[in-house]
């Protein structure tokens, strides 16, 4: 039994890291910003943390803090031009931002190791630490969701004219969502750096973008449970389909298509809606 758990521990570690990234993606979508820049912020945070440890030999706590702050700073800067764009244009601009970060990373060979990546990062983060940070991130998202900010984000996402007419500052709230997204991505990028010995520039490219977006789309966009469920399914599923070897990504793709078509709100949100509708119906019968 112990062997069994030990065998799956790395998978659980990946889940915890990707959960943070999924929440980073989730919070911007929640506030009505169609940004896909999470992968770039994660890269910025990871490399900052990695360089702090490798080149400067600083304590991991400082590295993580630096990763979080640089992720957040990049997000705040990016949010200024992005506020002028809408919808798909935001998506395209953020994809371009990911490519820019990737290119800069490869050019800045002296600092980042270029295409060879950043190696020999001391592994200082284990499952326990990851679990604590993932739990904190979940709490943060949950707290935002049920308070004033969650209500404002929801309104902006659904109807900007209504939001403005009720006194909600759209630019301020979207910048805040962006800052949170950047900080979360930077933090979990930093955790990834201290957890995996080495960083590769392509790790934070288009593939990570698709992965984090899939977690949120599959799980659900409107409740904290969505990313929790989405990341769990998409990380476990390829493992279950291991006998299919090379073809297992096909299963991944088919499942996304099925879910997007039949459960457009995502698995968790659809389930929550069903429970609510049922409660309402039963309540109606009672009265």
């Amino acid at each position: 039994m112990n062997n069994f758990i030990a065998g799956y521990l790395p998978l659980f570690d990946i889940y915890l890291i990707h959960l943070g990234l999924a929440f980073s993606q989730y919070i911007v979508l929640r506030a009505g910003v169609f940004s896909l820049a999470t992968a770039a912020f994660a890269g910025i945070g990871a490399y900052t943390a990695g360089i702090f440890a490798v080149s400067l030999g600083l304590h991991p706590a400082i590295g993580l803090l630096a990763g979080t702050l640089t992720g957040m700073g990049a997000a705040i800067v990016l949010s200024i031009p992005l506020a002028r764009l809408q919808g798909v244009y935001q998506a395209i601009a953020t994809v371009a931002f990911i490519q820019i970060c990737l290119s800069l990373n490869i050019y800045a060979e002296g600092l980042t190791g270029g295409a060879m990546g950043l190696n020999n990062i001391p592994k200082t983060i284990g499952t326990g630490t990851l679990f604590v940070f993932a739990a904190l991130a979940t709490y943060l998202i949950w707290a935002i969701e049920r308070g004033r900010l969650g209500r404002a984000f929801n309104t902006i996402r659904q109807d900007e004219a209504v939001a403005a007419s009720l006194g909600i500052s759209i630019t301020r709230h979207q910048m805040l969502a962006f800052a949170i997204s950047g900080a979360l991505a930077g933090l979990f990028g930093g955790l990834e750096a201290y957890h995996s010995y080495a960083l590769d520039p392509n790790q934070f490219g288009f593939h990570l973008l698709i992965t984090t977006l899939s977690y949120v789309i599959l799980g659900g966009r409107n409740s904290v449970v969505g990313p929790l469920v989405g990341a769990a399914i998409l990380i476990i599923l390829p493992e279950l389909a291991r006998p299919l070897a090379e073809n297992r990504m096909v299963i991944y793709g088919i499942m996304l298509i099925v879910v997007i078509n039949y459960l457009p709100k995502g698995i968790a949100d659809t389930a929550i809606d069903a429970v609510r509708a049922r409660r309402l119906k039963n309540g109606g019968d009672g009265s």
Binding site: Y139, A143, N154, Q158, S165
Partner: protein, 255 residues
């Protein structure tokens, strides 16, 4: 008591004149009507007042405060609330949540407290929920609190939107065709609500197609046609004005 005052307000879309030199005053505690045929520019005026359209010329004041070029969310904070011609409720939210968001401008908990879910933020949420429930009761909507807002009947949706606007506790309310598509019973119920607002000291600007309803509700009426005011005065005066009759029914030679 303050007044909402539009001075020589103009809006041009390129060469198209949507409003020109419009002067309107909405004193506190009064219901003021704004009527006009389709395309007269009524909604344009509301959109300019609420900051959703940039003003091309003229000024808008609430009391002494100039809100002509203020961004939309600050105008709400100056004490203005509106409803929309085509009802705009949040489709993914319940009736209660739709009204709760109306209280946004009175939420004071610190951003950090709201982010970290500190007790102060939690208390505020509970308090706003209670106030929203009271508001729903005032509009006789308490039984629908947990229903998805867009699943309600048309008349009820109108009331939810009204409750949401009232939650902001405005001094001035801009109603864009609030009784369009309603039957008499529903519109009478709303008429009572409007009267209550006015007697509570709020200034109400009522935009309507339904001339009879406006005549019944308003103490003073402005008539807009082609972006210009063509008449103003008491309902009786305005409705017998030949300029108004020809704007609504066409010129006599064609009638």
């Amino acid at each position: 008591m303050s007044t909402l005052k539009l001075t020589n307000l103009s809006k041009r879309f390129g060469g198209v004149v949507a409003s020109e030199d419009v002067n309107i005053e909405v004193p506190a505690g009064k219901i003021i009507g704004l009527i006009g045929p389709n395309g007269a520019g009524k909604t344009t005026i509301i959109n300019m007042i609420t900051g959703m359209l940039a003003v091309s010329g003229g000024e808008i004041h609430v009391g002494d405060i100039d809100i002509t070029h203020a961004p939309a969310h600050e105008i709400c904070r100056a004490g203005l609330a509106r409803t929309f011609q085509n009802i705009r409720l949040l489709g993914e939210a319940t009736v209660l949540e739709n009204v709760m968001i109306g209280f946004h401008r009175h939420e004071t908990s610190a951003t950090l407290a709201a982010m970290l879910g500190l007790p102060s933020a939690g208390r505020e949420t509970v308090e706003i929920k209670e106030r929203a429930q009271v508001m729903l009761k005032e509009f006789d909507l308490q039984d629908f609190a947990d229903y998805p807002a867009t699943g309600l009947s048309y008349g009820h949706q109108r009331k939810v939107e009204m409750a949401r606007a009232m939650a902001a506790e405005p001094n001035f309310v801009l109603l864009d065709e609030p009784i369009a598509g309603m039957n008499n019973v529903e519109s009478d119920a709303l008429a009572e609500v409007f009267q209550r607002l006015a007697s509570a000291g709020k200034g109400v600007l009522l935009i309507e197609h339904n001339v009879r309803f406006v005549a019944k509700m308003c103490s003073y009426v402005y008539v807009l046609d082609g972006g210009r005011l063509i008449s103003q005065g008491t309902p009786d005066h305005v409705l017998s004005d030949p300029a108004v009759i020809s704007a609504y029914l066409g010129d006599q030679q064609y009638a």
